[in-house]
Symmetry: C2
């Protein structure tokens, strides 16, 4: 993998259509995740239409989406680094989130990930989402690598 | 509460702006949840732009969003029914999801919820998401009622 390039920009084309993170989805959020030391980071400013129930704060589903997409990227990057191979696509088997504080909208969010276990095709990641230094949400995910030789469809 | 009317259509105006389920968010998904026996149901057909990595299937963040918004509605409805009062707004404290099968896009999804515990302002809900009878995801959430007399902002 190229450790300077966004992880999502190294996904195989056939798996790069995700609304959250696919570079080939022109309608999507196109979030980008990068290595940063031993973990990964993604910075993203959600538009105001992604409001929660109360205006000015982000809706919970977007927080889940950011952790999910960044978690998949973190798993893919960790596995690629561990094996010295190109980035492969991971999908989510399970996701757990705790919402810790209201998340502001129209503000740059910092999502961080860390792979805590790599076991065969499965990678466990821990995730946080902060705004201006305040932890707003945290969680963990079990990510599974898609087979390389077989279409997901 | 009115048990025939969509639960989200009974949220107080100041909390009805959610991208996922707010009737006052013109850019949002405006999902609608209803009582159905002892539980709740929401039917929703996601547009193709909400693709996952592989075209033709839904991205994980949307699945989390649907369970989250429907879970909040389920908690609000269960509390309102238990107390014979109008619907109040709930927010998510935690959410756990297991992805069981690929979720098709451009297909009507059925999201079901059930409140399994009501304890003061906290309601625990169990959730499933199915497509054409196949279970695609399931999870649970801890939902917390917002104070009535105090703005969330």
């Amino acid at each position: 993998m190229d450790e300077k390039m966004a992880i999502q920009d190294q996904y195989p084309d056939e798996y790069a259509n995700c609304y959250g993170c696919g570079r080939l989805n022109p309608h999507g959020l196109q979030i980008k995740s990068y290595w940063d030391g031993d973990g990964t980071v993604c910075r993203f400013t959600p538009a105001s239409r992604f409001s929660g129930g109360f205006p000015g704060f982000l809706y919970g589903g977007m927080i889940a989406s950011l952790l999910d997409c960044h978690g998949a990227a973190t798993a893919a990057a960790a596995k690629a680094r561990a094996e010295g191979r190109p980035v492969q696509r991971f999908v989510t088997a399970s996701l757990k989130l705790d919402y810790r504080a209201k998340t502001p909208i129209d503000t740059e969010l910092e999502i961080r990930g860390r792979a805590v276990e790599i076991k065969g095709r499965k990678v466990i990641v821990e995730l946080t989402l902060s705004a201006a230094g305040t932890l707003c949400a945290e969680g963990s995910a079990v990510m599974v690598q898609l087979p390389e030789e077989q279409s997901w469809g």
